[in-house]
């Protein structure tokens, strides 16, 4: 047991090396990771993390996902995994409420259940989140404020007023600004884009007309900053505006290149996949889950435990210089 812990700690220190020391000869656990949908870039990236975990620790960890984002298909897959005697199941649920019953069945059979992107889930041992929404929102605001020289007008976008995480990011960002950057002002209301780039584009044009001095934009949906970036670029305002927000390199690349979008934020699904599996093995080995515990992927050290949710600080910040490192 102790040996294994040491091996794990060593393994984590040298995570990027082809570490085989963690591959304990005795118990190899069977841990399927069930994602929302297979074949899309986001979950392909997560699979890289799961595969790396399997390789480094010798556990039988692998990823499966339905061909379509469909709650029912995902439930069936989880049922299959229970039937195949998995030791633990890690899940990124498409609709958390839809998987509750099947996850309860899994736990009744002694299977360890770890979820991701489902902070409100009931029937899981633990849910692991890359970050708390408030801390992430504040982080984006810190960057935006730095870019804007801590003064000036800025506008915020959310997918819709009902997207919970978007609103938590933006609310935390605005609260942080009010507390720390008195020379900055938010103009207008929270702008809804309905995850539609054209809406973000159109609203940016209007904001620029209504508030000619607006210089900062914070997006929430992954297409928001691309829409803002297009409007900013068409007007030739790349150097005079700061555009930041949640997005992915595959969506915002062309605007990061021209500087129309300054910096984007997201979390790396590969690390989340690795962390979920590592936590599962830790539990199967009888390890304790405590506030402040460490997992090996970057950003998952000093996890804060609230209820059954573990929060990391695993946001990734990407600009022109490092966007090539994240091909998804």
């Amino acid at each position: 047991m102790m040996k294994r812990m040491i091996a794990l700690a060593l393994g984590s220190a040298a995570m990027l090396l082809p570490a085989t020391m963690g591959a304990a000869q005795d118990a190899s656990y069977k841990i399927p990771t069930v994602v929302k949908i297979s074949g899309i870039q986001w979950f392909n990236r997560m699979q890289e993390g799961v595969d790396r975990f399997a390789e480094e620790t010798g556990n039988d960890a692998y990823q499966v996902g339905p061909p379509q984002a469909d709650a029912q298909l995902q439930v069936q897959l989880i049922e299959d995994m229970i039937a195949q005697d998995a030791d633990a199941i890690t899940v990124v649920p498409f609709a958390p409420e839809a998987v509750e019953p099947v996850l309860q069945r899994a736990r009744d059979q002694g299977i360890v259940v770890i979820t991701h992107e489902a902070a409100d889930i009931e029937n899981a041992d633990y849910d692991i989140e890359a970050f708390s929404n408030a801390a992430y929102g504040e982080q984006i605001m810190k960057n935006l404020a730095e870019c804007m020289g801590e003064s000036g007008e800025y506008a915020v976008f959310v997918g819709s007023l009902t997207s919970k995480s978007h609103n938590e990011w933006v609310d935390a960002a605005v609260a942080y600004q009010e507390e720390n950057f008195p020379d900055m002002t938010m103009v207008g209301d929270k702008n809804e884009t309905f995850d539609d780039q054209q809406q973000a584009y159109q609203k940016t044009q209007e904001l620029l007309r209504a508030y000619p001095d607006v210089a900062g934009f914070q997006g929430s949906a992954s297409t928001d900053v691309a829409g803002v970036g297009l409007a900013v670029e068409e007007r030739g305002m790349e150097d005079d505006t700061c555009v930041m927000g949640t997005s992915l390199p595959s969506i915002s690349e062309q605007y990061l290149e021209t500087g129309a979008v300054d910096r984007i934020f997201f979390w790396d699904p590969a690390l989340a996949g690795y962390a979920m599996n590592e936590l599962a093995v830790h539990m199967l080995d009888g390890g304790e889950v405590t506030d402040g515990m460490d997992l090996s992927p970057e950003g998952y050290q000093d996890l804060s435990l609230q209820g059954k949710v573990l929060y990391g600080q695993a946001w990734v910040e990407v600009d022109q210089s490092n966007m090539a490192d994240y091909p998804f």
């Binding site: 209301d189 054209q198 044009q205 030739g236």
Partner: protein, 327 residues
């Protein structure tokens, strides 16, 4: 004079004017060339779609599938061009997307014309089928590295200016596509026998059949034409946004139909004008683009648009009923 006021165009134009006046009082800079260019650019896709919908409404049908068709044509075209490495010109993309749109439109034409099924049911079915086929067989991933031809097109401007702060405002060449569609549709509707047949079918399908109008052929034409211009609208949209997103466009159909109805086209068929349609689109676009200026919060925006649609379509209908009673 009384007749002029009873017309939808007059009502819509009045509301539009009022809206512009109020917005300009709140923010005097609203009345400017950059605003006009922004509005034209943001409205042109909706306007192209609306012209297609107008044609269907005049013929007494309704088409709700055109958005799915546009998304299919747009995405399939972009994906093919990217995967074959044909960076090509915009003309090629337009032709391909229009061609795919035409083929899909013929599917609608078959069910409406040959099978004689109700248009709403047919197009509701094809809306879902085209969208499903796109996401299942063609792809569901966003393409942000669109071919150079398309990207160049988005950077081609008809007019370009610089404002006081040194920032650009510009009118994209894509408005030419709208202009072309408008002129062509106007010509078909008002200068050809085909156009008269479309009006006749919308007036009364049975009478049109009896007097020997080749109804089935005309219906094939209508849906193929709508398919073609929807495919063109789709690819223009993707070019201007510089991204082909298979989840885009679908969802617009009701606002487009609302704009056309607002502009005076009747759901019963037989009536509708291009001027009215363009005014209806202009109204919705102006409203959509002035709510931030007016400080109307997000949640209220849909209410305002809904109320205006009720007003714009309700008043003329109510007037028509009243005048019917007095006659």
């Amino acid at each position: 004079m009384a007749r002029l006021f009873a017309r939808n165009e007059t009502l819509v134009a009045t509301i539009l004017l009022l809206f512009i006046i109020v917005t300009s009082i709140v923010d005097p800079s609203f009345l400017s060339v950059p605003t006009l260019f922004d509005l034209l650019r943001n409205g042109l896709i909706m306007a192209i779609f609306a012209i297609g919908v107008l044609l269907v409404l005049i013929s007494g049908g309704i088409d709700v599938s055109f958005t799915a068709l546009a998304a299919f044509a747009m995405y399939a075209t972009t994906k093919t061009l990217v995967e074959t490495g044909v960076e090509g010109s915009m003309a090629l993309a337009l032709a391909m997307s229009g061609g795919i749109g035409l083929c899909l439109g013929l599917v609608n034409g078959f069910f409406v014309g040959t099978m004689r099924l109700p248009t709403l049911i047919v197009t509701l079915g094809t809306l879902s089928a085209f969208r499903g086929a796109l996401l299942t067989f063609v792809g569901s991933q966003l393409i942000s590295n669109v071919p150079d031809g398309m990207r160049d097109f988005s950077r081609t401007m008809l007019l370009r200016g610089t404002n006081a702060d040194g920032y650009f405002y510009s009118l994209p060449a894509a408005v030419l596509v709208l202009l072309l569609v408008v002129v062509l549709t106007w010509f078909i509707l008002y200068r050809t026998m085909l156009g008269r047949n479309i009006f006749a079918i919308g007036g009364s399908l049975d009478s049109a059949r009896r007097i020997g109008i080749p109804v089935t052929k005309v219906q094939y034409f209508i849906y193929a034409y709508v398919g073609t211009i929807s495919g063109i609208a789709g690819i223009v949209h993707a070019s201007l946004a510089r991204v082909a997103n298979p989840f885009d466009i679908v969802g617009l159909e009701l606002s487009v139909i609302a704009a056309v109805v607002l502009g005076g086209a009747r759901l019963q068929g037989g009536t509708g004008t291009i001027t009215g349609t363009l005014l209806g689109v202009a109204l919705i676009v102006v409203i959509n683009n002035s709510l931030i200026t007016l400080g109307i919060p997000s949640t209220w925006q849909n209410i305002v648009i809904g109320l205006l649609i009720l007003l714009g379509t309700g008043v003329p209908a109510w007037q028509a009923r009243r005048s019917g009673r007095t006659e």
